[in-house]
Symmetry: C5
Subunit: 97 residues, 5 copies
Amino acid sequence: MVLAKVVGTVVSTQKQPNMEGIKLLLLEKIDPVTIKGKNDFIVSLDTVGAGLGEIVFYASGSGARQTSETQGVPTDASIVAIVDSIVKDGVFTFQKK
Amino acid sequence: MVLAKVVGTVVSTQKQPNMEGIKLLLLEKIDPVTIKGKNDFIVSLDTVGAGLGEIVFYASGSGARQTSETQGVPTDASIVAIVDSIVKDGVFTFQKK
Amino acid sequence: MVLAKVVGTVVSTQKQPNMEGIKLLLLEKIDPVTIKGKNDFIVSLDTVGAGLGEIVFYASGSGARQTSETQGVPTDASIVAIVDSIVKDGVFTFQKK
Amino acid sequence: MVLAKVVGTVVSTQKQPNMEGIKLLLLEKIDPVTIKGKNDFIVSLDTVGAGLGEIVFYASGSGARQTSETQGVPTDASIVAIVDSIVKDGVFTFQKK
Amino acid sequence: MVLAKVVGTVVSTQKQPNMEGIKLLLLEKIDPVTIKGKNDFIVSLDTVGAGLGEIVFYASGSGARQTSETQGVPTDASIVAIVDSIVKDGVFTFQKK
């Protein structure tokens, strides 16, 4: 899964019917050491109630549809977890406040 | 999903039979902040009636076939939404006119 | 799908049994604006009778197996269309002769 | 599969229910010749009891769910092996101590 | 499929049970024109008896599991053919000795 930050939202009224009611979030991939954005963005469905500014990870490909919220939905990216903390080599690089 | 702009069309008469009648659009991936093209193109099936110049996002991989229009079609990219607006960090970076 | 040019062939006698009888073509990905090769190559199965020098697009991933010719074959790339023309921003960038 | 080193852990309480109880590891992809990190990270599920500092390889995409531990879980990366040794051109580039 | 050269082996005792007995090879992706390595490596299962130094191509993603040897195995890359020859623009760039 890829670590990313929720940086915005995408609105669409003309879309595939089974996408109705699922939040579309704009994610920026992050470096898990510096927690800085990599200027690389994707649109992801949200399945865990992620909010603006939160660090999350998303499942890509068919993995994005292995949830009750996204089964059968034409998605290739779904947030599946909100991150509490990241530890690299014994040191916290991120802790949710 | 990946944000892109519809920049053209691709025509093919000699193709897989179940691609008949589905529009083939040329997409250029965009930066969601500047909305500028990234000079990176793909051919996508259209499932939502997208038109030239519109900002869309497409599902890639097997996600591209989770629609009634594209089920069983040998595609790896299908437009699944026309974008109305993109907001990053509380600021509109795109609003459909 | 990705636009590419048929630039050669690959021959293999020792291969997975259900690949027998399917042509293996060498493709070079192209820029759809200049129609020039990008020096990025893949091996693809052919399902539409594509010939040397033709511009095609191929489906990648599981999409490559959604054809009667390639179902169940261990492929991740299959040519699914021969391109007649590409139009970008109202201008032909390619027309088959 | 991709070779990587286990460099840390990721903790999440708000996540997809069937991810409960599966360890989330932070992996850094490595060069298999120098065994050095490539500063390219992913979050992976662990299915083989991998520990910090170990060299592993993970399966990506739907391959990540072909294990009894990860079937139906929304993952796109799962560690499937702990590496004992790597030999390139007849020379060991890595041997587990 | 991607062209690559068999450059080594990877040994693992602690791995997913259904990987037992399948050879794990280290592959280096090659340029099909110069046949030189691109310093880009992956670990692949072997399904065709490929040996050190041979030029092969592998199927990635779910395509890697469309063989009797790899069905249900958590792999994302399997060698599916040993290459005899590559011809680009009418000229042999590779011929197996």
